[in-house]
């Protein structure tokens, strides 16, 4: 007997299933300033927040066809911040009317020996990158505008090179399962960013 999909089950075994709702788009470097300016106006009033993060993606290969993916992220500019371990499930297929990409997500704050521990568990690092950019918030919505950098020498975050001449823009919300009205709010907010950036639901499988 199959368990009902995670989106319909707010609570499983005593813990709340959290879902990540995501919309993505991009802007060329020269349009960054105008986008930041508009976001500063639309979003919650706070000191402009920038971030510099190093993310590593780990895979655990088993007999199953698809390996288990975990993402470990650490802040390079905030000392003392915990490392962030994230699991993202497969995107929930279903309602074509749903405006955002929805997937199960588990976020865990960990100590600094995360890499050693994952290796001990049997995970192997698949790839890594550096993300540098700006962070905005509007209520429960998080808007990130950042540039991805390729790491030239594995493990050395000092020698990095930009992957493209653009910035990735992500609008995301992490909310308990079953709250589909969240994607409506996201779409309304995305409308306000047009025509500077077009945020849409991008299915990662179609890119591969």
């Amino acid at each position: 007997m199959e368990a009902p999909p995670v989106t319909m089950m707010p609570v499983t075994g005593g813990t709340i299933n959290m879902m990540e709702y995501l919309l993505q788009g991009s802007v060329l470097d020269h349009s960054l300033e105008s986008l930041i300016h508009r976001l500063r106006g639309l979003c919650d009033n706070m000191e402009p927040e920038t971030f510099l993060d190093h993310e590593m993606v780990f895979l655990l290969k088993g007999q199953q066809a698809s390996p288990f993916v975990l993402r470990g992220r650490r802040s390079m500019d905030r000392t003392g911040a915990p490392w962030h371990l994230r699991y993202l499930g497969q995107p929930e297929m279903g309602d074509k009317n749903r405006h955002a990409l929805v997937r199960n997500c588990v976020d865990i704050a960990t100590s600094e020996n995360l890499t050693d521990f994952l290796m001990e568990m049997g995970f192997r690092m698949d790839h890594e990158f550096v993300a540098k950019g700006h962070l905005f918030r509007k209520g429960i919505m998080k808007i990130m505008v950042y540039k991805i950098f390729r790491i030239l020498v594995p493990g050395n975050t000092d020698s990095i090179e930009a992957l493209s001449l653009s910035y990735l823009v992500e609008l995301s919300v992490v909310a308990p399962a079953g709250q589909d009205m969240v994607s409506d709010d996201m779409r309304n907010f995305a409308e306000q960013l047009k025509p500077l950036v077009h945020l849409e639901k991008i299915d990662p499988k179609r890119l591969m």
Partner: protein
């Protein structure tokens, strides 16, 4: 947290686990220690599923996932002689997602529960170690709050332990090891509990008459 020593108190001759715990707690109360609530440390064992082993060519490792009521929002995951990860409680949710790769040995869930006593700068926790319905032993944890460097206060801790445990005083915990000047942390306490639980698991079960 301050430097902590976790040890096992053998069950007294001709007495049950519960009676020995009562003997210890009465001794503490006579010393003047103040009861301050309860504590619980539990440990679940996971092993790498057979399906993952083939591709790695290594013997299955045991991973312990532990919780300590002293740190209610944290979860400790460790390998014997390996790293100890400190994470938040969502780690348990992640272990559910990893069901296909790591199997929980349900029968080996072990925990210790008991009372916390504060005696000046010492925090003493005496607990009954249980596996399922049966009591398997007694754990004694003593923490000296003000100091975080093992080599600076081990002799003081030892003196207190001798006063309280008498001939059952343990030697210096292996976590103190060679790094005498390293700062002591909660992960070190969890490693001590893991070693204690493993020792108790291997011991003969306490005779039936003793459990009551």
């Amino acid at each position: 947290m301050g430097v902590t020593c976790v040890s096992q108190m053998p069950v007294a001759e001709g007495k049950s686990v519960q009676q020995t715990v009562e003997l210890l707690t009465r001794k503490l109360e006579m010393l003047g220690a103040e009861k301050q609530g309860t504590f619980c440390v539990d440990c679940e064992t996971y092993h790498t599923a057979a399906s993952t082993l083939g591709s790695q060519g290594q013997a299955g490792k045991l991973m312990y996932v532990m919780h300590n009521s002293e740190y209610p929002l944290s979860c400790f995951a460790l390998f014997e002689n390996g790293p100890c990860l400190i994470a938040d409680t969502n780690f348990d949710v992640l272990m559910v997602k990893l069901k296909g790769f790591f199997q929980s040995a349900k029968a080996s869930k072990i925990e210790t529960r008991g009372t916390r006593y504060q005696y000046c700068d010492f925090l003493v926790k005496v607990g009954t170690v249980t596996m399922g319905p049966s009591a398997r032993g007694i754990s004694v944890e003593v923490e000296y709050g003000p100091c975080v460097v093992a080599s600076d206060c081990w002799s003081l801790l030892l003196e207190f332990l001798q006063n309280f445990l008498g001939s059952h005083t343990p030697g210096a915990p292996t976590v103190f090891g060679n790094r005498h000047d390293a700062v002591y942390g909660p992960a070190d306490t969890m490693v001590q509990y893991m070693e204690l639980f493993n020792k108790i698991r291997k011991q003969q079960q306490v005779p039936v008459a003793g459990i009551r």
